[in-house]
Point group: C3
Chain length 427, copies 3
């Protein structure tokens, strides 16, 4: 439970807010590279942390991410012409380069130097892992470009998607941090999901539905251990990495399956992008895996064609199927791992009122993540922040059997870091 004031501090991310200042200290996954596939392709609207921006790839392939609205009379650059190394406003022809410089102002006299006074807001971008990343913070504090494991692999080894979620980013991320809900919301989906089926981990998971949680601060965020009894001597540990400010890494089921994870990025205070990726560190993804992901299965989602909004959404009660619920094909009546999560999260309203919660021991990770974010926010102006360095990103989640006497972070130490090209640890 939070006070109203704490909740406000946590969820507001517009420019000038406390959390907004914090999040602007990190590189942000802004859009899929395929959204602006080639030089001089149409510009694309992008909203991040409440700021409306326009993304484009110029004639030389450079990526621009600038204020959506022209400095002149604030018409949208969505209608702009992307040509000859710049984006030209369709209203009066002012033209901007990827750095936001006004490089042409044809409505003014040739001798005018007015355009030199114009500077369109522009954020630096890089392309990594099929995603365009941007940095919206103070230039002098720009951190290293992220190096999550999937970003460092060949394209054939990974699949990345994004979907619109109609809640605050924090509420979505709390679902990723909270592995306790897996035993319920996704209960009847485990067996027939080829990603989980037949693993020893799944058998342990179902045998003990009341895991105990231990949460430890890591350099980059949190290590969240959920332990279940196996026998008198051993625990089954599922260990989730939370990397600040918005990455959650899913613990694996077996080493034959791809790994997965998410980023939860504010669009505005009431919507966010749920980024999802699967990858395998030592092999290409198989065609059947890729097809399933493209169909929106597993942690990905089915879209309304031509959009990143999900087909199952709040306007249609997430296509709830009460027969499937009764027949225990789905726990909540909603189909698909992703939709099972976001249907429940969106049902709390776009910004959940955390003054009304009643948190238990299973919510320990959520409580600590909030605390760590709020503490970091106090250092946001110029402090050294967890999750800003590439070594914070080179981590893995894991699922392991350990003797009861061994602390999970010690027993799984090697399993919890990326060893490039090496198999990960999972049972």
């Amino acid at each position: 439970m939070l006070t109203r004031e704490q909740n406000e501090r946590l969820v507001r991310t517009n420019k000038g807010t406390e959390m907004g200042t914090l999040l602007r200290r990190y590189w942000i996954p802004a859009l899929l590279a395929e959204e602006i596939p080639e030089p001089d392709c149409p510009p694309v609207r992008v909203q991040l942390l409440g700021e409306k921006l326009i993304a484009f790839r110029d004639t030389q392939g450079r990526i621009g991410l600038i204020d959506e609205f022209c400095s002149h009379r604030t018409a949208s650059l969505f209608f702009g012409r992307n040509e000859e190394c710049g984006l030209r406003c369709a209203y009066h022809g002012w033209k901007y380069d990827v750095d936001g410089n006004c490089v042409d102002m044809p409505s003014e006299p040739p001798e005018s130097r007015f355009r030199e006074k114009i500077k369109q807001t522009a954020y630096p971008c890089v392309e990594r892992g099929g995603v365009i990343w941007t940095y919206m913070g103070p230039p002098e504090l720009e951190p290293e470009v992220p190096e999550l494991e999937w970003m460092t692999l060949r394209p054939e080894q990974r699949f990345v998607s994004k979907r619109l979620q109609e809640t605050n980013f924090m509420q979505a991320m709390e679902g990723g941090i909270d592995s306790s809900h897996v035993s319920f919301a996704h209960r009847f989906n485990m067996d027939d999901d080829p990603m989980h089926a037949g693993t020893a981990g799944l058998a342990y998971l179902k045998a003990d539905t009341r895991p105990k949680f231990e949460v430890i601060e890591s350099d980059g965020g949190l290590l969240i251990g959920a332990r279940r009894n196996v026998d008198d001597e051993r625990y089954y540990w599922r260990i989730t990495q939370w990397i600040m400010p918005w990455y959650t890494i899913i613990p694996p089921f077996g080493t034959h399956n791809p790994l997965g994870g998410h980023a939860w990025v504010p669009i505005d205070d009431e919507t966010c992008w749920a980024w999802s990726w699967n990858y395998h560190p030592t092999r290409d993804l198989r065609d059947d895996e890729l097809e399933s992901m493209r169909r929106g299965e597993g942690i990905h989602a089915k879209y309304i064609p031509g959009t990143y909004r999900t087909l199952a959404n709040k306007d249609n009660d997430y296509l709830i199927d009460r027969v499937a619920q009764r027949e225990k094909r789905t726990f909540s009546g909603v189909e698909g791992i992703a939709a099972q999560d976001f249907s429940l999260q969106e049902s709390m309203g776009p910004i959940v009122d955390r003054t009304k919660e009643r948190l238990g021991t299973s919510d320990a990770a959520i409580i600590l993540a909030r605390r760590r974010l709020l503490a970091a926010a106090e250092e946001a102006a110029d402090g050294e922040l967890p999750g800003t360095r590439t070594e914070h990103h080179r981590v893995r989640s894991a699922s392991v059997l350990l003797p009861k006497s061994v602390p999970f972070n010690e027993g799984a130490r090697d399993a919890l870091v990326v060893r490039p090209g090496e198999e990960f640890v999972s049972i």
Copy 2:
């Protein structure tokens, strides 16, 4: 005409408001029994007086009406599993019984007593007359369960429906109290409606279009007499019962026709349920009558399939037919008694601004009903309230011929009370 402050007092019904406190002292028709037809059927969202609730029927047939949002992390119980005598949240499995007790908390350790501290808001329910009733007030002030005549009959003798109205409940109810509009809004519908056709009453009604109103306080609300001249010696009286806080009983046309009435129940401040019933105290409804009612004729309404929203609604200008209006098949161009009323009431906006009204003598009943509600609101905390006792409900409306010298409430005294199994009085 009201002051702005009086209007606000009258229309606001959320928890803690004056009118909200008053209305919570009464049993409330909450949903149709058929919406939760059998044990362990899917839960149903119900909003009343601004409170979002979820209704379910447990394994033993007991009815639960509890806060829609789980005490834990406020996910909606709409996605819950209704099984084994309780409703289980789909997020982390917390389970509630019909009294709001948390009877299982599988995400916490077995030894945890945390669940004993959890109490989900729950309101008592009873099923009467095919309707589920709830009481949302202080337990120590719970009144008798209502006994409107139709509630006491066999199912074959009655038909009950509900529809969504997109106005404040008060504005809808004022249409039910105000019998003066019948001569206009429904003018061209009288003759071809088998419910009215050929009755002596209808002839008197059309002969004198300027009824005079006399309104008298009854034990439960108001007796509203509208008199019309018949000849030198007699008046034709149509007498409407208003039973606090939201029941309006329609005066009859002939004894061969079913009786009818309404309840007007706030969903929130800008929408309400219009409950409508027809019944005959001494016979079963005929098949042709039931079919007509199911089709949405008379005081009932046609729905958008799968919803309780009407097919004719503000988004389509109530399917207004200007040719039918010009040809005097309908007065306003809108088809159907119910739609004729709610189209006009919704056209005033969701909450009518009563500071702008200009009320005449024909509005006497509305004026007194408002006054009585505002007066009762001052006693709402713990006073004895009109309309809370079953004797207040055992009344009938009536239409009678009386000598001019006889006060209507005396002349119609016997006609105005329910005499079980006995024919009602109407010409």
Copy 3:
């Protein structure tokens, strides 16, 4: 750039606002005459300057424009019966004449004189040029009825349309005042538009894309001259008339083509009517011209059938066609002169934030128009106002070649006034 306070003064037009008081001093184009085509036809909703009204034509052909909501209980007169020289409310039968007098009150006793106390707000109307005009200001200050040239011609010589624009009227009008955008937003539409094709003016326009602006106050508003170099001795001048408070007259291309212009009229603060007309002062419009206009070409627009909302609108990104944009068939990807303008204007949001603009020399006319409106607003209570007299309306825009030494308002003096039945001046 304006201060926030100046912007608010400029855009708010409800009753009691500064700009609302100013605009109410002028006759207002309210609706097309064809919307109420004949006596006793159905009434039509009309919203102007934030006031919700209802227009009707009574049995004798007189035009009424009265408050939409009945004085009695505020039901909408949209459902009213228009018959026997008045509009009768469908709720309780109160009936109003075109002057807002309550001429029948059948719900009250015959002897009642209550109806004499009722006065429904009513505005005087006249029909001119196929348009119904109203005056919503103080009766004692009512100005002359407008006499724009097209209003004085035979119906065969003109075509008038209106469309809904989803912005404040000011933002829309600034597009009409600002002829600088023509070289960009409409760049690739000039050649294939038969209205422009092959004229000498078009060649000059394309040869010099950086016109210089000179703006002069006229009696009725502004004279906006845009000059382009032709050779050492001559300028090509395109001269736009702005007549207060909302008329913009388009300079012509050649004398064989119809003239055109607009009025920009607030519906409420976030929407306006864009009125558009074409006419020829010395001949009837040809069938091919009329068909093209009816199809929504040129300055007119294609509608969603049965509405005045445009088919290309903000909900469908104005049907943007990126291929047409790339292939230089349209500059912004949006098809049609009108849609090219309103797509950009609506992209600024319903009320543009003028504190964020960066205005150049090409925005001189906009700056002066704002200044003149704000200055006039200070005289709005009872001052003599520009644009209120018919002589202010009897003006033309023009396109002319002038020696460099001649001021444009002197050189084009004769071209800038209406000479009835005489050809206009254009190259």
